[in-house]
C-alpha cells in the first residue's frame, strides 16, 4: 500500500535580486510515503534547507507544485499555511530555536497557544510531550540551563505536541557531539517506527544509513540520487 504524503512536481525555488538569480531548488520531482525515514544529503548550499522549508510551509515555491497530505501548499493563504505548520508538520533545527527566556514547558506550550488550546490542557499536553522525551525533571529549566541534547529533545517535544504526520529535521545533530547525536538519531528512529514520517537533512550520510530507509541527494538544487534500501 503506497500512500504518498509528500509530492513534489517540478518544484522550483529561486532567489532574485537586481544582479543575479540563485536557484536554490531546481525542478524537483519526488514523493515521500507515509512512515518513511528519508535522509536528505548534499553539500552546503545544495538546497536542503530550502526544500525542508518549502515542505514545512515556511517558504513558498517559485514554480511547480508541492502537495502535503493531499493539499497544494502553493495555493494556500497565509492563514491556511499557519494551520499547515501547526498541524501537518513539525520542524526541528540545528540551532534548536528555543526561546531563551522561556522554560522548556513554556516553549512547548507555545506550539499549543496558537492552536487555541485552553491553558490547563496546554500544560498537560506539553508536560506529557516533555515526559515522553525523558525531560520530566527539566521542564522548569530555561534552554540556557539545558545541554544541547536536552535542548533538541525539548524542540522535538514542541514539534510533536500538535501530533503532526511529518517531522522535518534540518541537521538536528549538527550542534551535538557524536554520542548525543547518536541518541537523538535513535529517538527519531523510534518515533519513525511508531508511524511518524521523518525527513532529516544531514551532512553525514553514513551516520543515518542505519536508521533511514531512503536517501535523497541534492546537488546545486537538483535531485541527483534517490536510493531506497529494501530492508530498513
Amino acid at each position: 500500500m503506497e500512500n504518498s504524503i509528500i509530492e513534489c512536481d517540478h518544484l522550483n525555488r529561486f532567489y532574485e535580486n537586481r544582479y543575479a538569480r540563485v536557484t536554490a531548488v531546481h525542478e524537483l520531482c519526488f514523493s515521500v510515503n507515509q512512515g518513511e525515514f528519508v535522509a536528505v544529503v548534499g553539500r552546503s548550499g545544495s538546497g536542503k534547507s530550502t526544500l525542508l522549508n518549502l515542505i514545512g510551509g515556511l517558504d513558498s515555491p517559485s514554480s511547480g507544485s508541492i502537495r502535503v497530505l493531499g493539499k497544494e501548499l502553493g495555493k494556500m493563504k497565509s492563514q491556511e499555511l499557519a494551520r499547515h505548520r501547526r498541524h501537518a508538520v513539525g520542524m526541528i533545527f540545528q540551532s534548536f530555536n528555543l526561546i531563551p527566556s522561556r522554560t522548556a514547558l513554556e516553549n512547548v506550550e507555545l506550539a499549543l497557544l496558537f492552536g487555541g488550546t485552553p491553558k490547563g490542557e496546554r500544560r498537560k499536553l506539553a508536560a506529557s510531550a516533555l515526559d515522553s522525551m525523558g525531560l520530566k525533571d527539566r521542564m522548569r529549566h530555561r534552554p540556557g540551563e539545558l545541554s544541547g541534547g536536552e535542548q533538541q529533545r525539548v524542540a522535538i517535544a514542541r514539534a510533536l505536541v500538535n501530533k503532526p504526520a511529518i517531522l522535518l529535521a534540518d541537521e538536528p545533530t549538527g550542534n551535538l557531539d557524536s554520542v548525543t547525536a547518536e541518541k537523538i538519531l535513535d529517538l527519531l528512529a523510534g518515533l519513525n517506527r511508531q508511524g511518524l514520517t521523518v525527513l532529516m537533512v544531514t551532512h553525514d550520510a553514513d551516520s543515518v544509513k542505519k536508521v533511514s530507509g531512503r536517501t535523497l541527494r541534492l546537488l546545486d538544487g537538483r535531485l541527483v540520487e534517490d536510493t531506497r534500501r529494501s530492508q530498513a
Partner: protein, 473 residues
Amino acid sequence: MRAFDAVALGLDNLRRTRLRTFLTTLGVVIGIGALVSMVSFGTGMQKNVSRVFYENDLFTSLIVTPRKIDPNAMMSGDLSALEQVVAPKEAALDDSALFQFRALPGVMMAYPQIQFPVKIRILGHETENQLGALPARMGEFPPYNELPHGSFFSGDGDSCLLIGQSVLKKMKWILRSGGFKAISLEDSLRGVRSIPPDSLIGQDAEIITSVMDVSSILKNPWQYMASPGRMPTAERSIRFRISGILQKTDDFHGRPFSSELIIPLGMVRHIPRFGFNNVWDLLGNKTSDESYGSIYVRVHGFEDVAPVKQAVESMGFGVFAISDQLQEIRKGFLILDTALGAVGAIALIVAALGIINTMIMSILERTREIGIMKSVGGSEAEIRLIFLTEAGVIGLLGGVFGILLGWIVTRIANAVANFYFAKEGIEHVEMFYMPLWLICGAVAFAIAVSVLAGLYPAARAAAVNPVEALRHE
C-alpha cells in the same frame, strides 16, 4: 489564539523588558497626565461658572423689559432696533401686566425690579448704596434661604432690611466676632473696625432719601419750571430693622439681579422719593409708579423658560433669559477645553512616537522569536494581535497611571492656588474637576493612541520572513 492568552503573552513580554516598558509607559503617563489635568481645569472652570448660575437661579430667571430690544442688532448698528427703543410704547409694563405674568403657567413668581439710590445710616455711620426690593417669598430660594447671619424677612410689609457685607465695608466695618485683634494692621490703619454680626442683627438702620421740596416750589414755581434740572430737595428718613446679613460676594458668587441693600417689596411705596423724571411729570400728574422699568419673572423649572418667554414676548414685551446666554458660554468652554486638550494631545503624540520606537526596537530584537512563533504555527494575524496587545497594555497602564498623575498634579495645583487665594481673601475654589467621562475617556484614548502607534510595528512583526529569521547565525 485566545484573546486572554494574547494579553497574558503581551504582559509577559513586557515584564521581560521591565525598564524599557516602564520608560515607554512613562511617556504615555505624562501625556495622559497632561491631558487630564488640562481638561479637568477646563471642566472645573465650566463647573464653577455653571454652579454660580444654578446657585443664583439664573436658569429659571427671566427679566421682562417694556420693549423688545435686540442687543445684537443694536451692536451691529441696525438703527431700526434703536428706533424700537425710542418709539412710543405699545404695552405698558404695569401692574396689569404683572398680574398677567403671574397667571402664566410655569411662572412661580413675578415682581417688579426696583432699585434706587439711598443713603443708609447705622449707629451713626453713613454710606450711599442702591436699595433693592424683593418679595418675602424669595426667602425660600438661594442665596436668601441660607443667610450667614440673621434671617430673611417673613412678610412683604415688614420694616426689615437685609444688608450686604460690601455695604458694611463701605462703612468701614468688618464682620468679626473676635473683637479688635481680628483685624489686620493694614485695615486698622485705614480705620476699619470690627463688628460682631450678632450686634448688627436687630439694629436700627435709617434709609434716607431725597424728595422734592414742594413747599419751596410753590413759593416760586416759575423759577423751577424754567430750569427743571435744578430743584430744591429735602431729606426724608425712614426706620428699618436689620434682620439679616447677606453672603459675601466674590468673582464667582455675584448677585447680578439684586442689590446689597434689600427691603420687602411692600415697603417700597412707604419710601418717599422722586417718582418722576422732571417737574413736568409732576405737573402732568403722571408718576412712574404705574409702570416699571423691568419685572423679574421666576419660573418653576428650566423647561418653563422657553414657553413663558414666548408668551411674554407675544404680549409685546422684551424678555432676557440668561439661559439663552448659556449656549454661548458652553461654546466658549468647548473652545477652551479643546485648546487645553490640544496641549495634552501633543504630549500624547510624543508618547505615541515613543511607543512606535520601542516596539520597532523590540521587534528587531525578537525577530528570531517571531520566526519561531511562525514555525510552530503562529499566523500573521496572531502575531499582529500579540504586538497590538502589548501596545494596548502599555496604553492601559499609561492611561491608569496618567490619570493618577493628573489627579496628583491637579490636587497640588489646587492647593497652591487656594493658598494664594486665601491670602487675597478669596474663598476656597475647586479649580479642577475630573468627571467620570474624563477618566474613562482618557483611558480609552490612551489605549486607542497606543494601539494606533502599535499598528505599524505589529504589521512589521507579522511580515517577518520566518526563513530569514530562523537561519542560523
